[in-house]
């Protein structure tokens, strides 16, 4: 009798594991099928492009978040960093779009490295360390921008948000490239493997002589830069710098996508493809709800439920 119970338990565990690893792909396929059957004008190139364009900034942030979560950390400040980067852009746009973009990225890098410094060197818990920037970052952005939304007119900068290469919008292309880059970084480089090892067992990693502090600072810095990239992209598409709204609740969207994609919050694992599909899934959910005329309110509540469900499924990993 206990044998049967054992076997059932094992089967449940196997099923849970499978769901954790592949649930996101299954869900995307199911949603696509559902929409193909029941949603008018869904299977069009135009619609797909729109969905991808909307998802691109979230994906870029989520990639950085996945790395941070892989080290058993979390970065609550990504939205605030986006606001900061957005506020910087109009200040330097006069000197050319390249300068403006570079400055935005530098701000992201500094913010991220600062978070990393607090986590690695000062030894503050990641949530607590990144909270300070979450509280103050957007305010600082608004102070820089005088609380104003600034319309942008530099055609080269705006082209980032409107142009495409071979029919693929630049933003989508960039997000795809970055996903490949992050995947390569995680799987093929010393840095990536050390990152995963630190998240998997920090004590063992330290005893193995890994450069734990350097890797942690690096990871948060990358996360900050990626948030800035997403901000540049979103700002250019909006044709305006809007620090009040830029990246609002982005930390939630990014964490959700990462967790839904099968990267556990307990660290030690980074699933880049899963994260990409996590972003696509959340985008599809929203699109489906909107196309079926469900109001934003219901959409938000359903998203909240999905987040809880995803974290719940993922939590049994250890």
């Amino acid at each position: 009798m206990t044998l049967t119970a054992d076997r059932t338990a094992t089967r449940t565990a196997t099923r849970t594991r499978w769901l954790q690893d592949n649930g996101v792909y299954l869900a995307v396929v199911v949603l696509l099928l559902f929409n193909a059957l029941f949603t008018a004008n869904f299977l069009t190139l135009g619609n797909f492009t729109t969905q991808l364009v909307q998802a691109a900034p979230v994906l870029i942030v989520a990639l950085g978040m996945a790395l941070v979560i892989g080290t058993e950390g979390v970065d609550l400040s990504v939205g605030a960093v986006m606001a900061l980067a957005a506020a910087i852009i109009p200040l330097y746009l006069g000197a050319g779009p390249l300068v403006a973009i570079t400055m935005a990225l530098v701000v992201g890098l500094l913010a991220g490295a600062f978070n990393g410094f607090l986590v690695a060197r000062v030894g503050i818990q990641p949530i607590v360390a990144t909270l300070a920037l979450l509280v103050g970052g957007r305010g600082l952005a608004l102070v820089i921008a005088n609380g104003q939304l600034v319309q942008l007119h530099d055609p080269a900068f705006l082209a980032l948000g409107t142009d495409d290469v071979l029919g693929i919008p630049i933003g989508v292309l960039l997000a795809g490239l970055l996903a490949l880059l992050v995947a390569g970084l995680t799987n093929r480089t010393t840095f990536g493997r050390q990152l995963v090892a630190i998240g998997g067992n920090r004590k063992a990693a330290t005893l193995a002589g890994l450069p734990v502090n350097r890797v942690l600072v690096g990871v948060y810095a990358i996360c900050g830069v990626l948030a800035a990239v997403a901000s540049v992209l979103a700002t250019s598409r909006l044709a305006a710098s809007d620090p009040a709204d830029m990246g609002l609740l982005m930390e939630l969207s990014a964490i959700t996508a990462v967790v839904v994609g099968g990267t556990p919050l307990t660290g030690g694992k980074v699933r880049v493809l899963g994260t990409v599909f996590g972003v696509i899934l959340m985008q599809l959910v929203r699109a489906t709800l909107i196309k079926h005329n469900l109001p934003d309110s219901i959409a938000q509540m359903i998203q909240a439920a999905i987040i809880i469900a995803a974290v719940y499924v993922a939590r049994e990993r250890r």
Binding site: G136, L142, V143, Q300, M301, Q303, A304
Partner: protein, 322 residues
């Protein structure tokens, strides 16, 4: 004998305690003194009354947050619950005083209860659970306001408006409500078993379990309290504004966390005071008031100052604990 052989954590924590509690109080006194001298309008009774009233709404939320943070948790949903509470109160006011007051408390308390159950029973991280309910509560708010397009008004002559606008000696009722809650909160924290359980849960969860502390029940209770108080703050705000404003409360959770931590409560749990939180509220509101007095300054400086204060306190806590 070398003293470093004993773990340095707790000894330094005592130092932290003194420094923080005193630190926030000293900063508040200095801030008030300077403002009084520099800005003639600061010391006026009207301004002080207004300052206290503005602070009272945040204080009600922050008292609940204090309990949550002492257990080692965090509640990011209070900003949304604050807004939701206001809308529910305004909508409920058409059915009378009782409904206007009870509805937000019940609904927000219920969401807090769900937060607590999920956190205590499934071991999910508090920040992610309460982030999700932040989203959920916003969604619910939009759902009952026709996607934010309807703002429920409260009849000016209703008893409920009196709750928000009534005064004693010119000081608004919410100030007294917040004061009573602060005293009550301090008493619960320090003079009841529940309070002791809150400290034990956040101070050393594993030990607390071995000592027989009902850790899960304690967690459920603090999140329920936090949700309920956020709802109450929303109801009071609605009564004061005579309407359920849908766009308030964005980022309020961050203000609440900031004042709690600035007031000396350890963000890692196990230590804190309600009085400190009240001082934290005072400090932030005085700073905000001064920024407004200067006039040329952006009101957004307030959150920058909060963030910087938070950072200083957190880094100090960490360094002193080494």
């Amino acid at each position: 004998m070398i003293t470093t052989t004993t773990p340095a954590v707790p000894r330094a924590a005592a130092r932290t305690k003194v420094l923080q509690r005193q630190g926030a109080a000293v900063a508040l006194v200095l801030m008030v003194a300077v403002s009084w001298l520099v800005f003639p309008r600061f010391g006026s009774l009207d301004n002080l009354r207004d300052l206290a009233l503005q602070g009272s709404f945040l204080a009600v939320i922050a008292i609940g947050m204090t309990f949550v943070i002492i257990t080692g948790g965090i509640d990011l949903s209070v900003g949304s619950l604050y807004a939701l509470g206001g809308v529910l109160a305004a909508w409920g006011s058409q059915y009378g005083f009782l409904v206007a007051l009870a509805l937000p408390l019940l609904v927000c308390g219920l969401i807090g209860l769900v937060n607590g159950l999920l956190i205590a029973r499934t071991n999910m991280a508090p920040f992610i659970v309460t982030l999700a309910s932040l989203l959920f509560a916003r969604g619910l708010l939009l759902a009952i306001t026709d996607e934010g397009s309807t703002t429920y008004k409260i009849a000016g002559d209703s008893a409920f408006v009196e709750l928000g606008r009534g005064t004693v000696l010119g000081f608004g009722y919410p100030i007294f409500i917040a004061a009573v809650l602060a005293v009550l909160g301090g008493m619960v924290l320090n003079r009841t078993s529940f309070g002791q359980n809150v400290f034990a849960t956040g101070g050393a969860e594993q030990s607390a379990i071995l000592l027989g502390v009902p850790v899960a029940r304690t967690k459920i209770l603090v999140y329920t309290t936090s949700g309920t108080l956020a709802g109450l703050a929303g109801a009071l705000t609605a009564a004061y504004l005579q309407s359920g404003v849908t766009v308030i409360g964005v980022g309020t959770e961050l203000d609440a966390i900031a004042v709690v931590v600035i007031g000396g409560t350890l963000l890692t749990g196990g230590m804190g005071t309600v009085l400190g939180t009240v001082i934290g509220v005072g400090l932030i509101k005085v700073i905000q008031n001064v920024i407004n007095q200067i006039g040329t300054l952006d009101s957004n400086y307030q959150s920058v100052v909060s963030g910087v204060f938070l950072l200083i306190v957190v880094v100090l806590q960490r360094i002193l604990r080494r």
